[in-house]
């Protein structure tokens, strides 16, 4: 090992440039991997959540988005379908109406109705960092972790929502709520949500209508959709089919369709980001091959000497591969360290509403350092093979 370090120090600039090639590749792999990790965590949480219930919207929707409002009375019709354990009415409105949705790796802020008992059925269990769940009283609100950070709110504070757009009409309606709970971070949808009881959500739905319609619209009779939970052992895709067949005017979406769409999106994102990083690494690997070939060329007499004094083919091959692996390992450690620093720095400077966009996990650390090590090792194979097969007589007498 001592000799390897001295060999690297012997050609400082070349070693620095070669290791830099690996470092750049690993920084790219760390940042892209952390980006994909964060995105996948978001999707995984979402997939886990949506796999546990059947979303139902009105007939013109896809079950999740689009479409209009549904009569609350449909709740009873859906509950009567065999296999349904519980039906929760749901309403979701934008927390920042009129805001442009710029390119973002997070979810936009939203306000949603919440029945605390849904937590007993949902696959995604929400827990409280502080405060408590809604207890049914009007004017209470529970905030997701990012939402609370963005508005700098804590339990007991008041918050006025929805956020009034700068170009809002003079009759734009806002309500002031009291924060009673702040959720733990889930790394997925609830983080950017604010949760009120159904009656308050219905009022928000009504507020979105034009003044003319508001006077004739009884918000207490309508919702945006339903979250339907099955009895134990019920296949939710089959349940969605049954709801569609037995309840008119609604669209129940199969959870598996939504999960597949999420997983496919995540896989594509991961593939694109990781491919870009791997490309950078391959270039780094070529630099290692070049360096090692030059090292072999420069050390021909050394190789001849080592063979003369008893080094076997395996020993010579091992020495060069170890040196090449060491270059990879240093590149991996430095690259991961830099990548970690960059992602931590960027995460710290992200707006609270966005939350972290990079997620560095122990698995990613192992992947980055392990990949750099493997790359160095593989890059060393050809030069090491050439060195080990060298004719000792020719090597000893070379200039």
């Amino acid at each position: 090992m001592n000799q390897i370090v001295r060999n690297l120090v012997r050609r400082k600039l070349r070693s620095f440039l070669t290791i830099s090639g690996i470092v750049i590749g690993i920084v790219a792999l760390t940042t892209m991997g952390a980006l994909a990790n964060n995105f996948n965590a978001l999707l995984d949480g979402g997939a886990k959540y949506i796999a546990g219930y059947v979303p139902v919207g009105d007939a013109s929707s896809n079950g999740v988005t689009g479409g209009g409002v549904l009569p609350l009375a449909k709740q009873g019709d859906i509950a009567a379908v065999p296999g349904v354990a519980r039906v929760f009415p749901t309403i979701q409105v934008a927390a920042k109406p009129g805001a442009l949705q710029v390119v973002s790796l997070g979810l936009p802020d939203y306000i949603q109705s919440l029945d605390p008992t849904e937590n007993n059925y949902s696959a995604l269990k929400i827990t409280y960092a502080s405060g408590h769940s809604l207890d049914g009283a009007s004017g209470e609100i529970v905030l997701g972790s990012n939402f609370a950070a963005e508005f700098n709110k804590k339990v007991g504070d008041g918050i006025t929502l929805p956020v009034k757009p700068s170009d809002a009409a003079s009759d734009f309606i806002q309500h002031t709520y009291t924060v009673v709970g702040i959720l733990d971070r889930t790394q997925t949808e609830p983080d950017t949500g604010a949760f009120v009881n159904l009656a308050d959500a219905q009022q928000l739905l009504k507020d979105q209508l034009s003044p003319a319609l508001q006077s004739t619209f009884d918000a207490t009779l309508y919702v945006s959709g339903f979250n339907v939970y099955g009895t134990p052992g019920t296949n939710l895709d089959t349940l969605a089919d049954r709801i569609n067949a037995q309840v008119s005017g609604v669209k129940a979406q199969k959870p598996s369709v939504l999960v597949k769409a999420l997983v496919a999106g995540g896989a594509l994102f991961t593939t694109i980001t990781m491919a870009a990083a791997l490309l950078a690494l391959v270039i780094g690997g070529l630099a290692v091959i070049n360096t090692m070939i030059m090292a072999v060329s420069e050390r021909i007499r050394e190789i001849g000497l080592k063979k003369a004094i008893g080094a076997t083919t395996k020993a010579i091959m091992g020495e060069f591969m170890l040196e090449s692996s060491f270059i990879g390992l240093i590149g991996g450690l430095v690259g991961f360290g830099l990548g970690f620093a960059v992602t931590t720095l960027i995460n710290a400077t992200m707006p609270a509403s966005q939350g972290a966009i990079f997620l560095v996990t122990p698995g990613l650390a192992l992947l980055c350092i392990g990949f750099a090590l493997a790359l160095g090792t593989v890059a060393g194979i050809i030069p090491a093979f050439r060195a080990s097969r060298m004719d000792p007589v020719a090597a000893l007498r070379s200039n």
Binding site: E302, L305, G310, P392
Partner: protein, 231 residues
């Protein structure tokens, strides 16, 4: 003991076959101090490389301490070199990144010898008069000092045979005489056979036996009067 039996090494140069060694046979007893002399192209270096198992002969046998090296595979030869043969080269061939002591210890690494042999390496460096240069790198040593390091390195694995390829060829006559005296002393003290290929007649005169090659054949094999050397 080393037996060389009808050893030949032929090379092809275009359509011509060059007979670098042509049926060479002789024995060398343990502890001998032998010079191999001859003009350039006489086959001296080819013989030395063959004796060092670095070169595969076209035909013939080399037996070192009872082991017939002719049929050994490359890695078996490497192991035999590691245990039985030491080398001294004209250009020293020390690793520039290692200190004198580390260079001497290098063969121990390939022979997987225990670290306790570090003391033996130090003792050898003291024997060649480099006790105060152990931690110097080659570029901090003179040519003569580098060759003394190489002599110590050739002996560190306690070989039965040390092969020298023009060991005094890169130093002045005074240093050459010092190196010759050191090798002679090591030969006597450690009972190691030395076979030195040389153009240096002064060095050849220090040996017990001079084998002369011409056109790949032994043309003279003379025993000389043993020099008086302090052991």
């Amino acid at each position: 003991m080393i037996e060389i039996d009808r050893l030949s090494k032929h090379y092809k140069q275009g359509k011509t076959v060059v007979r670098a060694l042509d049926g060479v046979s002789f024995n060398i007893d343990s502890g001998e101090f032998v010079a191999i002399v001859g003009r350039s192209g006489s086959g001296k270096t080819t013989l030395l490389d063959s004796l060092g198992l670095l070169l595969r002969p076209t035909s013939g046998r080399i037996v070192i301490d009872g082991t017939d090296a002719s049929s050994l595979k490359d890695d078996e030869k490497a192991r035999l070199r590691s245990s039985k043969i030491g080398f001294i080269f004209q250009e020293y061939n020390l690793l520039p990144t290692l200190t004198a002591l580390e260079n001497v210890m290098l063969p121990l690494h390939y022979a997987s010898k225990p670290k306790g042999d570090r003391e033996w390496a130090r003792a050898l460096l003291e024997e060649v008069g480099l006790e105060d240069r152990m931690h110097h790198r080659p570029d901090q040593l003179s040519g003569g000092q580098q060759q003394r390091v190489a002599i110590a390195r050739s002996l560190v694995n306690r070989p039965s045979l040390v092969l020298g390829d023009e060991p005094t060829g890169a130093v002045d006559s005074e240093t050459s005489a010092q190196l010759a005296a050191i090798m002679r002393r090591m030969n006597r003290r450690h009972q190691v056979t030395f076979v030195l290929v040389t153009h240096d007649l002064d060095l050849a005169a220090e040996t017990d036996r001079v084998i002369k090659l011409k056109d790949g054949k032994v043309v003279a094999d003379e025993t000389t009067a043993p020099a008086s050397v302090a052991v």
